[in-house]
């Protein structure tokens, strides 16, 4: 039983990291209805920019601030060059545009900072928490716990921002109804820039945490694929869904690896979330927290 909990908690903590990636997708999808394929590239770009500045001798916080500035610049660039010319185009067009954008961002990142793997040290050790180890015998990583704490804080800040402030309400308003949003005086372009900045911030936090764990490398871009089952489980429109979806994916893949894996030869972790998402699509295609679409015929 103690082993089960160890695996479960480890899985949940890993799941928080998946939630973070999915969160970036949800933010942009909510406000503009665009599935932003470039979110993975943004994670990679922001992490690489941070380590790039660190390797140039910048202190950690300055490097993070500079990377954030780069994400803000990227948000303005994307709105002006990609979103504005394509306004009112079908969603698939915008989706294709974000695929193009992801190649562009990956290219710029590697052109600027090179393609080798960088280590990133956040000063949090990836070792078992001794107190827990001594008292319960469970092996839970300190890094995972801190990372989850940071993710939780980020989500809490976003929740207050979305629910209590004028701009947050404007973001939700735009997500709900463009016509009405314009009529109350909300400028769509401004809102898009803001939502891409927020998604950039989430990408930066994600990139730093994942980069510290697995090294800052090109593989970070594939996080976008890992976010897919999370989004299918949780629903594309829901922040709460991204969190719960991430937890389910994290916990279930670790449990499946440990308990089902040995019977089928292992390696189950890498595909189990996708199989789970597929099953889920059959039962509840809109996700746990997604909006059910009712079309008038």
């Amino acid at each position: 039983m103690q082993f089960f909990f160890e695996v479960l908690i480890g899985g949940l903590l890993a799941g928080v990291m998946y939630s973070l990636v999915a969160l970036g997708f949800v933010l942009i999808y909510k406000a503009s209805g665009v599935f932003n394929f470039a979110q993975g590239a943004m994670v990679f770009f922001s992490a690489l920019t941070t380590v790039g500045f660190i390797s140039m001798g910048a202190p950690f916080w300055l490097a993070v601030a500079l990377a954030l500035a780069a994400m803000v610049a990227l948000a303005f660039f994307t709105e002006r060059v990609v979103l504005r010319p394509l306004v009112n185009q079908p969603q698939i067009t915008l989706f294709m545009a974000t695929i193009g954008l992801s190649f562009f961002i990956e290219g710029i990142a590697q052109l600027t900072w090179g393609a080798q793997v960088h280590a990133l040290d956040l000063g949090i050790a990836d070792e078992p928490i001794e107190w827990l180890m001594r008292n319960t015998g469970m092996n839970i990583s300190k890094f995972d716990l801190v990372a989850s704490g940071i993710a939780a804080a980020l989500v809490a800040v976003l929740a207050v921002f979305f629910n209590k402030t004028r701009t947050g309400r404007a973001l939700r308003a735009v997500a709900d109804d463009h016509q009405a949003a314009l009529a109350v005086g909300i400028s769509l372009q401004k809102i898009w820039v803001i939502v891409w900045i927020v998604a950039g911030l989430v990408a930066l936090v994600t990139g730093l945490l994942w980069g510290a764990r697995n090294g800052v490398q090109f593989a970070l871009t594939f996080l976008a694929l890992k976010a897919l089952p999370v989004l299918i489980l949780g629903g594309f429109e829901s922040i709460a869904g991204a969190i719960v979806g991430g937890l389910i994916v994290g916990a279930s893949e670790k449990l499946a690896e440990v308990y089902i894996g040995p019977h089928v030869g292992g390696g189950i972790e890498s595909w189990f979330p996708y199989a789970l998402a597929l099953l889920f699509l059959l039962v509840r295609p809109e996700g746990l927290f997604g909006e059910k679409r009712i079309d008038r015929v």
């Binding site: 209590k164 004028r166 109804d177 009405a180 314009l182 009529a183 109350v184």
Partner: protein, 262 residues
């Protein structure tokens, strides 16, 4: 009839406006004005160009010819969010509300332009942003009282019955404290009682809050009771303009509504 004595000079002048979509002519050299504090109705059969007219005033459509002058400033090609900044609020024929938000949040969104706090203040939600939020909340509560929707304050708009949604949409427009309020069929699809309530609100908005109202409506008895002056459109042209009594007895108007014997 609303208080006729208060009515002032023109606040909005529509001059020779023509609008077409490809080969379809929606409006053909339409001119009229709206005076401060009056209730001005736009009526006409289906497809007469009433909603197009409202969309021109509010900047959704940009007319090919003619001009719209609001508060003395002539404007070309404003966007809806700029029109909102100038003090024009509106409701839509097919309710356009933020369905996933509560009534309260919908109304707070209506105050978007009244709130001044910067992005950073809000991101941190410190002192200033918090105080501002509370001040505006008080104003929104006044509107909630005014429209008698206290009991649904925290309800998601998507769950409300149609008549109440219409009322909430009016509330969101009022929250912006506009000088000019555009109402696109505020009573469409309502039962008699709901219509009476809505009529009372429109009169009160005009009378107590002093807002100028431009109203599109199909129900003739409502139009005749509420409005100070009426514009009649048919096939994109203005065929009559005057007080309800004048319009009611106008031969062209009767022909447009009842058809002409050939």
């Amino acid at each position: 009839m609303s208080a006729g004595g208060k009515i002032g000079g023109p606040i909005l002048e529509v001059d020779d406006v023509s609008l077409s979509f490809g080969g379809v002519v929606a409006l053909q050299s339409v001119s009229f004005d709206v005076r401060k504090h009056e209730i001005r109705a736009i009526i006409g059969p289906n497809g007469a160009g009433k909603s197009s007219m409202l969309n021109v005033i509010n900047g959704v459509y940009h007319p090919q010819r003619g001009s719209v002058t609001f508060k003395g400033a002539s404007r070309r090609d404003v966007d809806p969010h700029e029109a909102a900044k100038q003090g024009i609020a509106r409701t839509f024929q097919n309710i356009a509300l933020f369905r996933g938000m509560t009534v309260l949040d919908n109304l707070m969104t209506g105050r978007y332009l009244k709130m001044k706090c910067g992005f950073l203040d809000q991101a941190l939600y410190w002192g200033r942003a918090r105080r501002e939020e509370l001040a505006h909340r008080a104003k929104v509560e006044e509107i909630i009282d005014f429209l008698e929707i206290q009991h649904i304050r925290k309800t998601l708009v998507g769950r409300l019955p149609y008549g109440l949604q219409k009322r909430v949409e009016l509330g969101r427009a009022l929250a912006a404290e506009p000088e000019l309020l555009l109402l696109d069929e505020p009573m469409a699809g309502m039962n008699l009682e709901e219509k009476q309530d809505m009529s009372r609100f429109v009169l009160d908005v005009n009378d107590q809050l002093g807002m100028t109202v431009v109203l599109i409506e199909h129900d003739m008895s409502v139009v005749m009771d509420l409005s100070d002056r009426v514009v009649v459109l048919d096939y994109g042209r203005k065929i009559a303009d005057g007080t309800p009594d004048e319009v009611r007895n106008n031969k062209d108007v009767i022909d447009a509504y009842l058809g002409v014997a050939h």
